[in-house]
Each structure stands twice: as structure tokens, then as C-alpha cells.
């Protein structure tokens, strides 16, 4: 081939034209970063190499701003023999018995979901499912923590229905039950909704897969969808226009998902794992082939020779740098011994999935510690790099941190001083307003769009406190997961806010009777270049790491999403924390709803006057200020242990954690769940003036509402007292269809409660078509 015909940049050309100007700044690289690349290569990078470095060294892939902080999750890690794979892998893997492990992780897909809500959310689900699949696991459930702008803002009517349909469209079609999530509204998310997605998978302990591209001579196989131009620039600011000024077509950064293809990909991968046919596997997500090729070879210390033109393309006109940067969905990279190649291709064919050998693993040159990744395009070398330089040698920043200027004033402006209702009528009216408010109202309009039954192992799902799935049909072994985050608390105190999210997720898992064992997290923040945001981030990570150490459960994985802001305004810091717990026998699960008239109702934990950052302050006074509720992790631990033992001994009929909206909200939810009323008498010391209000709406942590069947009360209270866990008898469960009554204060029929609680979302989003374009107000 003569060089005249070549319309793409090659290594040879790069050597010949060292001074050619390159658009590194447009690709998001700093001048010193570009200089580093030239140093590493000993020449200017080719167009393809430049694209690869710019993606791999982007914030999203390199964690350059967060790395120095995230280290604490390792440094402060509590000892746990359960963790088989932790941070650094696609997802954390936790042994739940001698031979069964689970893997779980949460990730964000925030920006794409704002641009194209349906596809953005759908591909968010698809991406996290492939991470779980890459560990060797069968994905068995998904969850979706979501944050939107104000519920009544016209653009929320564009974003929310699309996001929900996308989460459902992809998850339902994959056959994964959706077992929980969050729907939270706050104006801070107006131009920047948060779409986080969690997947959990199950694998035999001995089937854990590795991503290492070990064994020189082994074949590199790309399996799944064809590669197209979609998503180029999704990860970094890479846009093909900057390469190709002539045909300036803006490429979309949103990909379209194909859940059917993903389902076939899952089934074929699981067959490959079961037959032990592969050496390594890696999913393709952000940064596509670039990330998969470099990570698999770098982690093994090997090299690769890849013939890029063998990659099946959807659009034949793609150039090599586009193929390398494409974020086309539903693809996996496999490392296969040559003798197994035919068997692998055969399984792919059985499921109707494309599988194509694209290269071979190579050994390091004699004297070298690591191999090189060389990529050719129709015979010409377009990439020749040490793969480790892309994966591990990216820039690391200790960005400046500074407490936000407004924080002292904000913290001084306490909600405890706001006007409060002081009589029964006022409380009754307040209760009805509170349960109808967007954050506290019934979320069925959203969750009914998700399949919760598929796979037949869903024991608890939304609106229960945690999702609980059966893992082993014979023994009843299962896992419970809850995801939580309260950004208002985190805004007021990010250290405490992260711990409160952890505490809430821990509590939600514990009330089902499960034993919390591991943590994942998705840290959604504004721009790391803003010292105030960076301070929030640092505090949140420190809080979470300290909290996990104190609770004795390790962080096994997670995700960071920066740049969540509109103009200069960052979202509230939003650490979303997921806790996974193990249930030895899901038949002993504890649901949240009252279910027998005459059962005793107890409140566990202590109530304090804690209204700052509360849902009440926000709904009634549009107020955010003060300091969030006190964190009491030892108390959470005692509560969890007590609930676990009570569940094992069959002493409790229901348990429901208290969080947003306090005791009042918990009483309403437990009543409406199965349609049983409740008669409550407030403790004498809380019965006068505005104290009943405080008791009902304070958001003190470490509390749960529990019902105990007649005859077990003594045993139950003794169990709590042994653990120094405050226990207060509040009253009894009333008859089916009765009312919620607070003696001396008010009484509301369940019908009236239900009408207020369920009406809000259908009223806001019931009409099904909204415009496609962003709506300003």
C-alpha cells in the first residue's frame, strides 16, 4: 500500500511529521498531559492514539480528581472474609455461602438521560448489567435511584416519563426484576437529573471471571453488536468534527440500546463461563474498545496485536479512531485459547450473536516488563502504545478544596425555629399535605412500569424498605439491597450526609431481617474544578469510609459522576449508597406493612428534635438550613442486630425504617401497605404543645417501627433492652380498613390517606406525551 492512498494517521506518519498540530485541547487534554503523551511515546501520538489517551485520561475513566480520595475505601477497609473481588474490578464480589457469591454495583448515566431520557436511562441499565456479567455472574435484579428537578416543572414532565420508560424498557426486556430505587425531586436537579442504576448478579464462587488478557498467543474476540458511530464523545469531549473539519456532522453522544441483543449476550456469556471456555472477559462500556483492550492487557502485563479492520462495523466508512472510541452498546471482549476458539464461536452462533477474532495476545519484548498494544488498520500501524500508560499512568490531581462560603450561614439557619402546628387539626391537615408531597407520595406510577416478578425469586420489592431476592431455592438463602441518599443532608454537611445515606441503607436492609455485609456507592457531584464541590466530595468520601469502618462493612465498588451542574450551579452533593445484606432464609423475611389487628406497635430508637434538612422544613417552609440529624452508627448497629435476631426468632410481624417524613410517614406507609389501621398513643413526655408534631415529623435516625404478635411482647422488649436499644410501645394495629388514630390529636381514615398519598404522581405525569425538547420555565 502506498502512503498516498492512506487517509488516516499512522505511526509512520507520526514519526515523519513530528510538528503537526494536534487538537488535544478540544479533546479535553491539558498541555502538560499532551506533553506527557509525547514523552511516553517518544513521538507525537497518532490521531487514534490521541483519541485513546484523551478518553482514558478523562475524568470519567481515569478518576483523576477522585483517586486520591477514593483510596480511603481501601485504607480504612474493615476486615471481611467475604470479599472475593473489590475496588478495581468491574464490580465487587461477595461470598454469601461456601459456594455462592453475589456481585453488585451502581453506576450513573446522568448526562445522556437529560439529552435523550429514554435511551439515556435504558443504556444506563444495559451498561451496569454488563459490568455484572463481566464478573462471571448471572444478573438477577436491578434498582434505579433517580433524581429529578421540581415535580411541577415542565421539563420534569419531559425527563421523568422518558427515564422511567427507559429503565423499564431495558430491564423488563432483559428479564431482570426491578426491586427498588429512589425517586427524589429537588430544583437543584433541574438541568441535571441523576439516573443511577444498580445491578446484582449471582455466580458460583469458582466461576469468578478475570479481565486479564493472559497467555501470549491467546485470541482476542469481540462479541455482540456491531460497532457504529454512536456515543463517540460520550466519555470525553471527543467529537469527530474536530478531526474532520470538512464534514462537520455532529455525532450524537447518546447511544440506542438493544436489550434483546444484551439478553442474547448474557445467555452466551453464561454458557461460555459454564463450559470454562475463556481465559478473560471484559465488558465494553464508556471508552468502548479503547478501554477494554488497554485494561485487559495492562492488568495482565501482556501486549496485543489487533487488526482493527476486522471489527464488524455498522457503518463501513468509520475511521480507526472512531472504531476505537465508539461506545456502541451490547459488546463484550473475550480472551480465548486458540484450541477453544471454535467452541466459543459455536456458542455465540447458537444464540445468534456475532463473535469475531480481532487480535492476539502478545508477550513483552525480552527485557521489558510489559507488552505493547499495537493496532493496525488495513496493514498500517495506527497505534503502538504501552497499554499501562493509558490505564495506570494517567494524571492524578490533588485539586484544591475549600468549604463553601455560604455553609456557616446555612448551618446557622436552623429549621427547628420555624413555626410548627400545635393542635390535632393542624397536625391532621399537615399529615395529608406531607404524604401528598412529591418526595413522600406513593411511587407506584413509576414502579408499576417495572417488572418485579420475572425470575420468580422476588421476595420483597418496592415499596418495601429493601429489595430481597431468593438466591438458592433449596436453602432459602437470599440477599437484600437498599440504595439511599439524602442530598439536602449532604448539602448541610457532606461528611454526615454520606454517613446518613449509609446508615439509612444499612437500616433498610436490617429491617427485612438481613445481615448487612457490603457497600457500593455512586457519588454524584458538581465540577471537581470548583474547590467548594471538591471539598464536598472529599468530605463525603471521608464520611463514607469512616462510616463503613465503624459499621464493619467494606466498600466493594462504586462510581463517581462529576460535572453535574447547570452553568455555575452545582447540584447538591448526592452520594447514593447501596448496602447489601445476606438473609439465611428468605422465608423469615420481615415485611413493612401492618398485617394483623391486635399486634403491638413499637418504636425502636430515640427521637430528638431534629427538623433541619427535613422533608417537613422543605415542604412547608421551602427551607434548607441547619445541621442534619445526628449520626449514630453504633446505634444503627444495635438496631440491626436486634432486628436480625427478632426476625430469626419469629418475634416480629413487620418492621419499617423511619427516614424522610419521620414517624408520621412510617405509620401511614405501614398502614396503607395492607390496609390495616393503627391506634397510637404518644409518650406522655411528647404529648403537649408542639411536641406531638416533633415526635411525628422529626427525622432522627436509628429508628424503626415494629409490630409484634400478642404473646411475644415480653420476649421482644427484653431482647431490645439487652442491647440497650430504646423501645417504646406506641399502640396496636387496628382492624382492616379502620383509621390511623393518634390519641388526643386526630384520626384519619385509610381512604382519605390513600387518596392523598396516591394522587400526586398520576396527576403530574398521567398525561403520557410531552415534548422532546428541553423546557425552560
Amino acid at each position: 500500500m502506498t502512503s498516498v492512498e492512506i487517509d488516516f494517521d499512522t505511526v509512520e506518519q507520526a514519526r515523519r511529521t513530528p510538528d503537526e498540530e494536534q487538537p488535544f485541547a478540544e479533546l479535553g487534554l491539558q498541555p502538560d498531559e499532551y506533553e506527557r503523551i509525547r514523552q511516553i511515546l517518544g513521538r507525537r501520538p497518532t490521531q487514534s492514539e490521541l483519541a485513546m489517551y484523551s478518553i482514558m485520561w478523562s475524568e470519567h475513566c481515569s478518576y483523576k480528581s477522585s483517586k486520591i480520595h477514593l483510596r480511603q475505601f481501601g485504607e480504612k477497609k474493615p476486615v471481611s472474609e467475604r470479599v472475593l473481588a473489590g475496588i478495581g474490578e468491574n464490580a465487587g464480589v461477595i461470598a454469601i455461602s461456601d459456594d455462592i457469591a453475589v456481585t453488585f454495583k451502581v453506576e450513573s448515566h446522568n448526562h445522556p438521560s437529560y439529552v435523550e431520557p429514554y435511551q439515556g436511562a435504558a443504556t444506563g441499565v444495559g451498561g451496569i448489567v454488563r459490568d455484572i456479567l463481566a464478573m462471571g455472574a448471572r444478573p438477577v435484579a436491578v434498582m434505579d435511584p433517580l433524581r429529578f428537578g421540581a415535580a411541577d416543572h415542565p421539563d420534569t414532565a419531559r425527563v421523568l416519563p422518558g427515564v422511567v420508560a427507559g429503565v423499564g424498557g431495558y430491564g423488563n426486556c432483559l428479564g431482570l426484576p426491578n426491586i427498588g430505587g429512589e425517586v427524589v425531586f429537588d430544583p437543584c436537579y433541574q438541568g441535571n437529573p441523576l439516573v443511577n442504576a444498580l445491578c446484582v448478579g449471582v455466580l458460583p464462587v469458582d466461576r469468578l471471571q478475570r479481565k486479564e488478557a493472559d497467555g501470549p498467543g491467546n485470541i482476542v474476540v469481540l462479541m455482540g453488536a456491531k460497532t457504529g458511530r454512536d456515543g463517540i464523545g460520550g466519555v470525553s469531549v471527543l467529537a469527530s468534527a474536530t478531526f474532520d473539519e470538512g464534514s462537520e456532522q455532529r455525532r450524537p453522544s447518546v447511544q440506542v440500546g438493544d436489550p434483546f441483543m444484551e439478553k442474547l449476550l448474557i445467555e452466551s456469556c453464561l454458557e461460555l463461563y459454564a463450559a470454562d471456555l475463556i481465559v478473560g472477559v471484559q465488558d465494553l462500556g464508556g471508552a468502548g474498545l479503547t478501554c477494554a483492550l488497554t485494561e485487559t492487557s495492562a492488568s495482565a502485563g501482556t501486549g496485543m496485536k489487533v487488526q482493527l479492520e476486522t471489527v464488524p462495523l455498522r457503518e463501513p466508512s468509520m475511521s480507526p479512531h472512531e472504531v476505537l472510541a465508539s461506545e456502541s452498546q451490547e459488546r463484550m471482549l473475550l480472551i480465548v485459547e486458540p484450541s477453544r476458539l471454535n467452541a466459543v464461536l459455536g456458542i455465540a452462533q447458537l444464540w445468534g450473536v456475532l463473535a469475531t477474532p480481532i487480535g492476539v495476545v502478545t508477550a513483552p519484548e525480552p527485557g521489558e516488563k510489559a507488552g505493547r498494544l499495537t493496532i493496525t488498520w488495513h496493514g498500517e500501524t495506527v497505534v503502538d502504545v504501552p497499554p499501562g500508560s493509558l490505564v495506570d499512568d494517567g494524571p492524578v490531581y490533588a485539586r484544591p478544596l475549600k468549604e463553601p462560603n455560604d455553609l456557616p450561614l446555612l448551618q446557622a439557619d436552623r429549621a427547628e425555629t420555624l413555626p410548627k402546628p400545635a393542635d390535632g387539626d393542624g397536625l391532621r391537615a399537615l399529615l395529608l399535605r406531607m404524604i401528598a408531597s412529591p418526595n413522600l407520595c406513593d411511587k407506584s406510577w413509576v414502579t408499576e412500569q417495572y417488572d418485579r416478578y420475572v425470575l420468580g425469586n422476588t421476595v420483597l420489592a418496592q415499596p418495601e424498605d429493601a429489595g430481597l431476592i431468593r438466591i438458592d431455592e433449596n436453602s432459602g438463602l437470599g440477599v437484600a439491597i437498599s440504595l439511599d441518599g439524602n442530598a439536602r443532608y449532604a448539602r448541610l454537611d457532606p461528611y454526615a450526609g454520606a454517613q446518613l445515606a449509609l446508615a439509612e441503607a444499612y437500616r433498610n436492609v436490617a429491617v427485612t431481617g438481613a445481615n448487612p455485609v457490603a457497600v457500593t456507592n455512586c457519588l454524584n457531584f458538581g465540577s471537581p474544578e470548583d474547590p467548594a464541590v471538591m471539598w464536598q466530595f472529599a468530605e463525603a468520601v471521608r464520611g463514607l469510609a469512616d462510616g463503613c469502618l465503624e459499621l464493619g462493612i467494606p466498600v466493594t465498588g462504586g462510581n463517581v459522576s462529576f460535572y453535574n451542574q447547570t452553568g455555575a450551579a452545582a447540584i447538591h452533593p448526592t452520594p447514593v449508597v447501596g448496602v447489601l445484606g445476606v438473609h439465611d432464609d428468605v422465608a423469615q423475611r420481615v415485611p413493612m406493612g401492618f398485617s394483623y389487628a391486635g399486634d403491638a406497635v413499637f418504636l425502636l430508637g430515640s427521637t430528638r428534635t431534629e427538623l433541619s434538612g427535613s422533608e417537613w422544613a422543605w415542604v412547608e417552609h421551602n427551607h434548607l438550613g441547619g445541621t442534619p440529624p445526628q449520626v449514630d452508627l453504633p446505634g444503627e448497629r444495635r438496631l440491626g442486630e436486634a432486628l436480625g435476631e427478632a426476625a430469626d426468632r419469629g418475634l416480629v410481624r413487620s418492621a419499617h425504617d423511619l427516614s424522610d417524613g419521620g414517624l408520621a410517614q412510617a405509620l401511614v406507609e405501614s398502614s396503607l401497605r395492607r390496609g390495616f389501621g393503627v391506634d397510637v398513643e404518644l409518650p406522655a413526655e411528647w404529648s403537649t404543645g408542639t411536641l406531638p408534631f416533633v415526635y411525628l415529623f422529626s427525622e432522627s435516625t436509628g429508628r424503626a417501627l415494629v409490630t409484634v404478635p400478642p404473646g411475644h411482647e415480653m420476649a421482644f422488649t427484653a431482647l431490645c433492652e439487652e442491647r440497650q436499644l430504646p423501645v417504646t410501645k406506641l399502640g396496636t394495629v387496628a382492624a382492616e380498613g379502620a383509621a390511623l388514630s393518634v390519641q388526643g390529636q386526630f384520626s384519619v381514615s385509610l381512604d382519605e390517606l390513600r387518596e392523598a398519598w396516591t394522587g400526586t404522581l398520576p396527576r403530574l405525569f398521567g398525561s403520557t406525551i410531552s415534548t422532546n425538547v428541553v423546557q425552560e420555565d
Binding site: V254, D258, E315, S328, N772
Partner: protein, 78 residues
């Protein structure tokens, strides 16, 4: 009564799983010479009075198509 037809198709570079699935099923109908199938939406808008093509274009742009991933054409049907 006058009718405007809006055809909405995914942009050529965007994956079309629907079309792909149909193309994959054709061999079973004994069809082997189809290179590609793309599936989009056809929207028929009947105006009660005069056709308002500008209005139709606005409807297409704001409601019927998502310009991030879809192209559309608007025409009056004869």
C-alpha cells in the same frame, strides 16, 4: 379536511434494533436479497381546516421526533 404526513426515521448512524430484528427474520420467509431494513414511524395528521405546514413542522420537531436521534420529513398528502 387535509392531511399532513410526517415520517420519522432514526438517523442513519443510529442503531435500529427493530429493523435489525426484522432483517434477521427474513431468511425464514425465504428472503435473502435484502440488504437492510429500517423501521420508523408514519404519522398522519388531519387538519380540520386548511393544512398548516409550519404548524405541522413544529409538531414534528417538538412532539413527534427527537432531533437528537431522529430525522423527519413533513409533506402534504395528495
Amino acid at each position: 379536511m387535509a392531511r399532513v404526513v410526517v415520517d420519522v426515521m432514526l438517523k442513519p448512524e443510529i442503531l435500529d434494533p427493530q429493523g435489525q430484528a426484522v432483517a434477521g427474520a427474513l431468511p425464514r420467509l425465504g428472503v435473502s436479497d435484502v440488504a437492510s431494513v429500517r423501521i420508523g414511524r408514519r404519522v398522519e395528521i388531519d387538519f380540520s381546516g386548511e393544512v398548516d405546514l409550519d404548524k405541522a413542522r413544529e409538531i414534528a420537531d417538538k412532539l413527534l421526533a427527537n432531533p437528537v436521534i431522529e430525522d423527519y420529513t413533513v409533506r402534504v398528502e395528495q
